[in-house]
């Protein structure tokens, strides 16, 4: 039994019909052929499927597609026009912030969402001053990026890449 929904993915509008059991991640990958969001665990434990939904970062494997009818989904591939690179894309490359690349689009989306959260002064568990503006120290970045696993062990470089992007966009 298929139900229809509208999704805007990386600026492109789609109308599709899905099984109610279909996750947002599977809708992207299996129905729309959008492979930038990766499946690493399918249980919200690794972050490889992180996308931005209406500007907020989200584990797309934990969301049912039908609950996002009308949403705007952005994957890492949608963060810059074809042939160009976003600031985060560039800093991930410059800092060699990945090895196999499988967790990377999720890391990039997570970083984009996290920079926005910090800009909105949302504190994290390591934030000392809960009222003031967020200073994105390495400790803040590590804490806020810990929902995205990287088995190749690129964390040191991911922190450097996110830090550089935060610096550049100040």
């Amino acid at each position: 039994m298929a139900h229809s929904l509208h999704l805007t993915v990386d600026g492109q509008e789609h109308k599709l019909a899905v099984d109610p059991r279909t996750t947002l991640l599977d809708a992207l990958r299996d129905r729309l052929g959008v492979m930038s969001a990766k499946k690493g665990c399918d249980h919200g434990q690794c972050g490889a499927c992180t996308v931005l939904v209406d500007g907020r970062r989200l584990n797309s494997c934990l969301a049912l597609a039908l609950t996002h009818d009308g949403s705007e989904v952005t994957t890492s591939d949608g963060l810059a026009p074809a042939g160009e690179l976003s600031t985060l894309h560039r800093t991930f490359l410059a800092q060699d912030a990945f090895q196999c690349g499988y967790c990377t689009p999720g890391q990039v989306c997570s970083a984009a969402g996290m920079l926005q959260e910090a800009a909105e002064d949302a504190p994290s568990v390591v934030t000392e001053d809960l009222e003031g503006p967020i200073e994105l120290s390495d400790a803040e970045i590590r804490e806020r990026m810990s929902g995205n696993l990287c088995r190749c062990g690129a964390y040191v470089n991911i922190v450097a890449a996110v830090s550089q992007a935060a610096e550049e966009s100040r």
Binding site: D30, C41, S76, Y102, C150
Partner: protein, 690 residues
């Protein structure tokens, strides 16, 4: 000794050539190649550890929406060769471990396949199983595929006479590779040719393994694997999942069958590092020089297929000492099949040995670096050959300087900051410098440069970039004129990306091909001119013991009230010959060390003896390091070339970063608290009063 290649691109920072596609998510991994009209597979797995699936009723599943086929041992396609217990799946109702494949549902959508798999009714005849490794297990035996025992001199007498000695037991746990991309195969059988889009560290080796089992000429199998989302050994050899997808495709011909192994399934299907028990006895003179060296290790293996996790391997060549005894045993039980995980043998072996050396240093009243310096062998104790250039002492001394080792107080439990106990530890690292013969590269003149084709793999190791750098220098052209093609059996044969042999082995093929190309076509070849060349074995391997070395330094803090242990910083100093790409190399060293932090502080598969499965079979409960666990990790290397490594002058670096890393952390924990850790991983309860 061979002439070193003059370099222009090698040794320089080069941003990953595959990077722009990877940061955007456009590089296609196994699941992601655009294919029309795919089917989806969901497996059936045994829910007992030993016995048989006496009846399997598939009728409800077959009647479910979208189901195309249900595969079991009763209808599975024939196999030609059933010797390999792991890969010869669906041959009978017999069950050798919990999680073993009993079949698969193939359906039009992934949801339908998974739902219908739940409708299959399986009745079991259960037998008593045994999954518990212990040192005195009656099934313990010498491995059939091991390196053999070592007995030299008179260990017992020397140990009895030793002025200083230690006699301790160490253990390392079951660990799971957990690459971020789960093992995936998309298989299509068109009636005569089998195509597998898969995630493998070696397309050609995988084909060579599968072809005789399936009874197909290798030419009728094509394996495509341009991008691999990590492997760490688990994609080094085909596991049963690749076989299951192939059988499903043959059973449902014409359409691609997609099978992405779930994270949970990986814990029983795609290999793991077997747990080890290590008994180490070291005897030394008063000055710390070793006279007696015994290393007796036992590892878990599987009744289904043997895999010895040879913890004794590094003990064979690390340190001097005339009276030696090294024995390796395996205990084959009713467990999933263990396999390669980053530095099999060396990684667990250098946990026991390097903690033991730290203990001996304490017993002898020596600095642990000085103890190692005093036990440098002049030649390889295992083979008697001279070492290529053994620079362990340089790594230890240079690393100590850069890390600030002189600040360490050898007296444990003496440094406190903000209520935390702080400690520093050191451990040595080593890994053999292997180079495999048999890879072939093909060079073709293109309008704007050269195409270099070889079936190599990039699993995050940087092959796309580093091998392009090697080819650019071999051909003496800018890197922009090299068009590399890898990851496909339609390209010339390549050996596996494993055991730190990938880049050096493929580079040898590129050098041979360049030589053949220039001999045939000169330096101004016509477009379309081509030649190929094959890598030979490294002749130096017969005259020298070829190894890389390194030294790890760690600083940890431990809270005396809670036992919480945190890594403060870590530094690795390595000797690995010439470094091809400093950016990707640093990442690989640090990546290995980061996995070593996981080995030290996080990772343990909890095998439930009652049911025979890994209970914590996902990433929420099997902990790997997250970003917040990794503070400062740095890696550096000695500026050098290996004169016995061929024109490249380099040795592989995939494994050495993890070897010894966990021991450095355990030794730092001792320095912080006075509590000696001999069993990994280190959890907080180790530091609390009992």
């Amino acid at each position: 000794m061979s002439d070193l290649l003059p370099t222009t691109s090698i040794g320089t920072h080069q941003v990953r050539l595959d990077g722009p596609d990877k940061v955007r998510g456009r590089a296609p991994y196994a699941y992601e190649h655009p294919l029309d009209d795919p089917l989806y597979l969901y497996p059936l797995q045994a829910e007992i550890a030993r016995g048989r699936a006496a009846h399997i009723d598939t009728s409800a599943a077959e009647a479910a929406d979208g189901v195309v086929h249900v595969l079991t041992h009763t209808n599975a396609p024939d196999l030609e060769d059933t010797e390999d217990g792991e890969l010869a799946i669906l041959r009978s109702a017999e069950i050798g471990f919990r999680g073993q494949y009993l079949g698969a549902v193939i359906a039009t959508t992934p949801e339908q396949a998974r739902y219908a798999a739940g409708l299959v009714d399986i009745g079991y005849e259960q037998e008593e199983h045994d999954v518990e490794l212990r040192e005195d297990h009656p099934a313990s035996r010498e491995p059939e595929s091991g390196s053999g025992d070592v007995f030299a001199g008179d260990f017992d007498a020397a140990f009895a006479e030793a002025a200083v000695s230690i006699d301790e037991r160490y253990s390392t746990p079951m660990e799971h590779n957990n690459p971020m991309e789960p093992h995936t195969t998309v298989a299509r059988w068109d009636g005569s040719e089998l195509t597998l889009w898969t995630s493998t560290q070696g397309a050609h080796p995988a084909r060579s393994t599968l072809a005789p089992i399936l009874g197909l000429d290798p030419d009728r199998i094509r394996i495509i694997s341009p991008h691999v989302g990590g492997g760490f050994g688990s994609k080094g050899v085909p596991h049963a999942d690749m076989m299951l997808a192939a059988l499903a495709a043959i059973a449902a011909p014409g359409r691609p069958v997609k099978y992405a192994v779930s994270r949970q399934q990986m814990f029983s299907i795609t290999g793991y590092r077997a747990p080890t028990l290590q008994h180490i006895r070291l005897g030394a003179r008063a000055d710390g020089t070793l006279t007696a060296f015994a290393y007796d290790a036992v590892s878990l293996s599987s009744q289904t297929k043997e895999f010895p996790e040879e913890a004794t391997k590094p003990g064979r060549m690390m340190y001097a000492g005339d009276n030696r005894r090294l024995t390796q045993r395996v205990v084959p039980l009713d467990v999933p099949v263990p396999s390669w995980m980053r530095a099999p043998g060396e990684a667990p072996g250098m946990v026991g040995l390097e903690i033991a050396m730290d203990e001996l240093a304490v017993a002898a009243g020596l600095d642990p670096i000085e103890l190692r310096v005093r036990n440098e062998p002049e030649t390889d104790p295992d083979t008697g050959l001279p070492f290529n250039r053994r620079r362990l002492v340089d790594c230890l001394r240079e690393g100590a300087k850069r890390f600030g080792w002189e600040e360490r107080n050898p007296q444990p439990r003496t440094r406190r900051e903000n209520g935390w106990l702080i400690g520093m530890g050191v451990a040595a690292s080593t890994y053999p410098a292997g180079r495999q013969p048999g890879s072939v590269a093909r060079i073709r003149r293109m309008p704007a440069g050269y195409e270099v084709a070889i079936g190599a793999a990039d699993l995050g190791t940087g092959t796309w970039t580093a091998l392009s750098q090697v080819a650019a220098d071999a051909l003496d052209v800018p890197i922009g004129q090299v068009e590399l093609r890898i990851g496909d059996t339609a390209l010339p044969n390549a050996t596996v990306a494993g055991g730190s042999t990938g880049l050096v082995s493929w580079s040898a093929a590129v050098f041979a091909a360049t030589e053949a190309f220039r001999a045939e076509h000169g330096t101004d070849p016509a477009v379309g001119a081509e030649a190929q060349g094959e890598a030979e074995a490294n002749p130096a391997a017969e005259k020298f013991a070829l190894h890389s070395f390194g030294a790890h330094f760690a600083e940890v803090r431990i809270h005396p009230a809670t036992g919480e242990i945190r890594l403060g910083r870590m530094f690795g100093m390595f000797s690995a010959g010439r470094i091809v790409n400093p950016s990707t190399a640093r990442s690989q060293f640090i990546g290995g060390m980061t996995m070593g932090v996981g080995m030290a502080l996080h990772e343990k598969g909890e095998l439930d003896p009652r049911f025979g499965h890994v209970v914590n079979h996902d990433l929420a409960e099997y902990h790997v390091p997250v970003n917040a666990d990794i503070a400062r990790i740095e890696a550096e290397w000695l500026d050098e070339e290996d004169p016995h490594a061929g024109p490249l002058g380099a040795r592989g670096i995939g494994e050495i970063g993890i070897v010894g890393a966990a021991a450095a952390i355990a030794n730092a924990a001792f320095n912080a608290t006075g509590v000696r850790i001999r069993d990994l991983p280190i959890f907080g309860d180790a530091f609390l009063p009992t």
